[in-house]
Symmetry: C2
Subunit: 291 residues, 2 copies
């Protein structure tokens, strides 16, 4: 049931992304090939799906938010390409394939990331059928939460505070690095549908809960997951002496934490008006994922 | 006269940039310091000034376009930081100072560039006092012309076609790599002021002329400029065996070309309604610049 629903969404999102980042024979075709390599590497499209579901929950009309949903996926993809670069995490494997810079070289991976980020905002700005007031409000949120006080800030904390990480800073890093894009997805969906401020606040809290749970599960999978299913190297946190929730609390305690956060997220969904059954399914799916 | 005018603009732009990218004591403060290092490294602010002048020419009300003008400068700055990285041009000097990655390391330079790019669109989206329709139209133009079919495309051509560059491809590269941001400046100024499509077309052609002239002058300065005034290494094109208009036509012919392009740009300004005296001064200043 949930699998079929996700598959339907994934197909529609992939079709739109294929239109938004078309193959080309122009002189700059190499960078487009590099962009498409990472965009179509088999991502689960969790973020755009969340955006579309929250948009629907608050009364948004069907396909209008697809551009914005794809913009969020493009930002997610750029962040993975840049994070894998030698000067960052230096990862050679991503989604079971060579990382972008292994395949296309560092210069092209840098430019492909820059291109996806640059174009994501144009894609978002070309959201049709929704008032430009709401679109600029959502773009403002998208920018703020993927910049230094959001996703990039999380990456900076990760880069700068390797040894001396405290639990408090670690939680802030999780909230920013992983939580920010999930928050963007939930909130921008709500904003584009014209949701009120109180509902938007609830969406933010929901996303913070699942964002924290998401990162804890990532940490668990990094030490006990299946490399083939995950499509990336496991044990990298341990190898890099990274402090994670798992290294502080151990796997079992972390599983309980993730479960508790998920239940809190489900309670928030219950408190919202409208049919949240699908969102609940997705929320539970995120907890149980194996990759 | 022109110096005083530019200085006044520069001060106002710097004040706004200082508000838009404030110093912080947050856990991600390192990346903000790195952003500010390059943003306040002494840029001439040509692009935002052009945007503000075109905005005024088409009847825009005073300070409303400052955010958008600063967004263009932020994109210009990110592009310089990423271009200087070891995997790109590997330049250690910029505006007379160590390049961003020399000062802050590669990881932080990458993230500072990403942050400036990400935040530029949020800054643009927070343009107040101008209708959101025009703001989203301008953001669409900004994104399209700084992405693969604009500035990044130019960089890709530069990176991919080192040896086998033809004059035709070289011109395309100039138009994209240098011309795109000048085009964005002129056109977005006009768009934000609500200019008609015909005028916008003329702004594009004007910017293409000065963009081409600008790059030719850059090439001339690279082989015969003053390293101290320029604040960057000269002779790098020659050292890297780069084909440029100067390597094809020689300095004297190139000076004539730049002069001719500037005259054509001045003619276009003449054909526009309104007071274009200041824009003409700026256009001539760009031709005569020594850095």
């Amino acid at each position: 049931m949930i699998d079929l629903l996700l598959k339907n969404y994934q197909e529609k999102i992939d079709m739109r992304l294929n239109i938004l980042i078309p193959e080309t024979s122009a002189n700059y075709k190499d960078v487009v090939e590099s962009e498409r390599y990472s965009v179509f590497a088999g991502g689960k499209r969790i973020r755009p799906i969340l955006l579309l579901e929250f948009y629907k929950l608050f009364g948004g009309e069907d396909d209008c938010a697809y551009n914005f949903a794809c913009a969020v996926e493009m930002i997610h993809t750029y962040s993975l390409i840049h994070d894998d670069l030698p000067c960052m995490d230096n990862d050679d494997l991503r989604r079971g394939k060579p990382s972008n810079h292994i395949k296309y070289g560092e210069a092209m991976a840098l430019l492909a990331g820059d291109a996806l980020l640059t174009e994501s905002f144009g894609v978002a700005a070309r959201t049709m059928g929704i008032s430009p007031e709401l679109v600029t409000k959502a773009i403002t949120y998208l920018s703020a939460n993927s910049g230094v006080s959001g996703m990039i800030g999380g990456q900076v904390i990760d880069t700068c505070t390797k040894g001396e990480m405290t639990e408090e800073v670690l939680k802030e890093m999780y909230l920013l690095k992983t939580g920010a894009l999930l928050k963007i997805s939930a909130v921008c969906g709500a904003v584009l549908a014209g949701a009120d401020e109180n509902s938007i606040k609830l969406c933010e809290t929901y996303a913070e809960k699942i964002g924290f749970a998401f990162q804890i599960i990532d940490d668990i999978l990094d030490c006990s997951g299946n490399e083939e299913k995950l499509g990336k190297r496991i044990g990298s946190d341990d190898k890099n002496n990274k402090i994670t929730m798992v290294s502080i609390y151990g796997v079992e305690k972390c599983r309980l934490m993730a479960k508790e956060l998920t239940n809190e997220a489900l309670d928030i969904l219950d408190s919202l008006n409208g049919d949240t059954d699908t969102l609940k399914e997705i929320t539970k799916y995120l907890l149980d994922r194996e990759y």
